[in-house]
Amino acid sequence: MELRFTDEEVAFRKEVQAFIDAKLPRALREKLAAGHHPTRDDIVFWQRTLNEKGWGVAHWPVEYGGTGWDAVKQYIFLEEMMMAPAPPPLAFGTSMVGPVIYTFGSDAQKKRFLPGIANLDDWWCQGFSEPGAGSDLAGLKTRAEKVGDHWVINGQKTWTTLGQYADWIFVLARTDASVKKQEGISFILVDMKTPGITVKPIQTIDGGHEVNEVFFDDVKVPLENLVGQENKGWDYAKFLLGNERTGIARVGISKQRIRRIKEMAAIEQRAGRPLIEDQRFREKIAEVEVELKALEITQLRVIAGEKKREKGKPDPASSVLKIKGSELQQATTELLMEVIGPHSAPYAPEEPGSNEPPIGPEWAQTIAPTYFNVRKVSIYGGSNEIQKNIIAKAVLGL
């Protein structure tokens, strides 16, 4: 038992840090640290920079462009990216559809899509949730009918993150309504330029536009865009959802935010003195730090356990990571709110090209929107209620 990283791991971390320092523009880092969203171009730029280095799809098998790093190195890599902070990878490509394609897809699909995912030449989005199918994803109603040499897709998807930029969408659609709901679903790749697709923005309470509704009206898709077998799409979806493990706790993001809280609390004042000198406030930070340290170890334990677990079987303890990870992300945004106090009020939607100086302290403007926005993390990706169901059933046997 040894918590320290090996010399090789320490060296690796330094290599990653050096790469970030060399390649990630300071202005972009500062923008992200201040709580602003990366633009489409920011995300593409960084993915291509990583891909050029051979780190674009680090966690993929080597034959498809992966690095062969073990779980600990993957963890170090991701943590450094979050702490930089760097623009996050577009998970829909690299962590979701990519692994589905290289695991279940045809050779033609692999050849066509994997390089474009790695280099973000193709922007992917996810067509899973529907207005009536959220936690109960298998209850989805979008259907794909085989007509001649095409699928014809009709229905509506929602919560499609960054779908406004997408070149492709992977869709779960019902292809057999006569069987148990999980057994009649297929996994289909759809070009967003296909006639009949309409993308409608959803504005979220923070004022941002991250998610969309996507409507399918007689959308014709070539039969060969089916991944794997017809009606086996639920299996691929479960594989995909179970895949996002090591990053789920977002420890790096919370760490970065704690740093920022401390920086800002050294400037903002309470009772005429820097807030950071207030013992009570420092104890509040400490409470979050303790839980975050515990979560970091919990995450490392899950990672260390991966090698012993059957491939593709997620550790049910990863529900712990999701629950605590989202609680702590939210807790850090609450501390930010407390730091900035009354100056959280002015609302300045992000408008590219605006030269208006912000009203109030420069760092204040993203704080309340971030607090509002981050309420989502206990809802999406399997709400915390769903995660508790999983623990109760899969871990505790209730």
């Binding site: 949730s129 009536g132 199918a133 959220g134 936690s135 109960d136 209850g139 929602t158 919560w159 959803i202 504005q203 979220t204 309470i205 004022g207 903002e268 004042q269 309470r270 009772a271 005429g272 009570r280 939210q330 709110m337 407390e338 106090g341 009354p342 100056h343 959280s344 009020a345 002015p346 609302y347 300045a348 009203i359 109030g360 302290p361 309340a368 929107p369 607090y371 509002f372 309420r375 989502k376 206990s378 809802i379 999406y380 709400s383 915390n384 209620e385 508790k388």
Partner: protein, 383 residues
């Protein structure tokens, strides 16, 4: 001990609630929010007609002689409908200073303007580093002959962008955080040297940054003792806290209702999600938090006239703490129980959540006020 409303109070409640129910739906509110300044002069006119703009002023000053309970009733309705108009700024804040510190002439001029709906007002106290301390004032007022010259910056002046007059706190003597030496000045919005930058706030109201550069204020526009403004501000803040507590209760009550409705209607896994016990219990906890908040909003209204200022402030603090704690829980859980839909701008729930979040930052958040309660040290014995 009596929790019943008088006949007049019930009438007031019904008339405000009736008007807002009829005209201030979620869609109408959206349109109002999009107006320049973010509020509706038409609605303001109706408020004047309903008589509520003169509510808390003495009858001899042209008001209706209402007390904190009347204000509570109005604000609970405001909270339910997320009313955007500058009532707090004009009537409770600037009006509160005027009624307490104004001379007969000042009252005659301005309270009539408020009650009649012809002008709106705002109170400029917060500064960059004052946080919630009303006595932390760096804006200066220097005597120069028969007038005062004001220099400094004020932040987050609620509805300051559209106000016709601003009441500004400024230091006339002493050091930054001295409790004495603070004056209150009535400044027309078009005064030379006064500039404003206004923006919407997170909750759809508006607030301004106000810069004062050599703004000259005639001595007749000083409100009360030029070195004794703090007790006035404190009394106004306590009245505002009581009003905000009631507004928050209205918002929490509506958000709880909306959430329970959603639980009754939303189906997942073939049943209404309201049948899931874990969600039922969360909703029950929201109800508990709401009832506790409702009690403290009443408490704030009913103790607003406490004679001892120290005690009055502590009781207001206690109410604001409870409101802050309850509002955070109800706001966050209101979103959580809705799931994705709660995160969208098109849906009501998030707007309640945001207003509740902003109410916490007005006149001191729960963490500010818990210190006040702790310093008071005898809440269980008081009131």
């Amino acid at each position: 001990m009596d929790f019943d409303l008088s006949e007049e109070q019930q009438l007031l409640k019904d008339s405000v609630e009736g008007f807002l129910s009829d005209t201030y739906g979620f869609e109408e509110r959206k349109k109002i929010a999009a107006l320049p300044g973010g509020w509706s002069p038409e609605v303001w006119g109706t408020f004047a007609e309903l008589g509520i703009l003169g509510l808390p002023f003495a009858e001899e000053d042209g008001g209706f002689g209402g007390g904190a309970v009347e204000t509570m009733l109005v604000f609970e309705s405001f909270g339910k409908h997320l009313v955007l108009e500058p009532y707090l700024a004009t009537v409770v804040l600037a009006g509160g200073v005027l009624k307490r510190a104004g001379s007969a002439e000042q009252k005659a001029a301005h309270i009539a303007a408020i009650a009649g709906g012809s002008s709106t007002y705002a109170l400029a106290t917060t500064e960059r580093h004052s946080r919630y301390d009303l006595f932390d004032v760096t804006t200066t007022a220097k005597k120069d002959g028969g007038s005062w010259v004001l220099d400094g910056e004020k932040a987050v002046v609620v509805h300051g962008g559209t106000a016709d007059h601003l009441v500004v706190s400024a230091r006339t003597a002493g050091a930054r955080r001295d409790k004495g030496g603070i004056g209150l000045f009535l400044v027309p919005a078009d005064a030379a040297g006064l500039s404003r930058r206004s923006s919407p706030t997170q909750d759809g109201t508006h607030a301004a940054e106000v810069t004062l550069s050599g703004v000259r204020v005639d001595a007749v526009h000083v409100l009360g003792d030029p070195e004794g403004g703090l007790p006035v501000l404190e009394a106004v803040a306590d009245e505002a806290i009581a009003a905000l507590c009631a507004e928050a209760v209205g918002a929490m009550s509506e958000l709880t209702d909306v959430t329970v409705d959603y639980l009754q209607q939303r189906k997942q896994f073939g049943i209404n999600i309201g049948q899931f016990q874990a969600l039922q219990h969360r909703a029950a906890e929201m109800f508990v938090a709401l009832e506790q908040a409702r009690s403290m909003a009443m408490f704030a209204a009913m103790t607003a006239a406490t004679e001892d200022a120290r005690e009055r402030r502590a009781l207001a603090s206690a109410a604001k703490v409870q409101i802050g704690r309850s509002a955070k829980f109800i706001g966050q859980q209101g979103i959580q129980l809705h799931g994705g839909i709660g995160m969208t701008m098109e849906y009501k729930a998030g707007h309640y959540f945001k207003r509740l979040t902003m109410i916490d930052t007005l006149f001191g958040d729960a963490d500010h006020h818990i210190s006040e309660v702790a310093d008071f040290g005898r809440l269980v014995a008081a009131a």
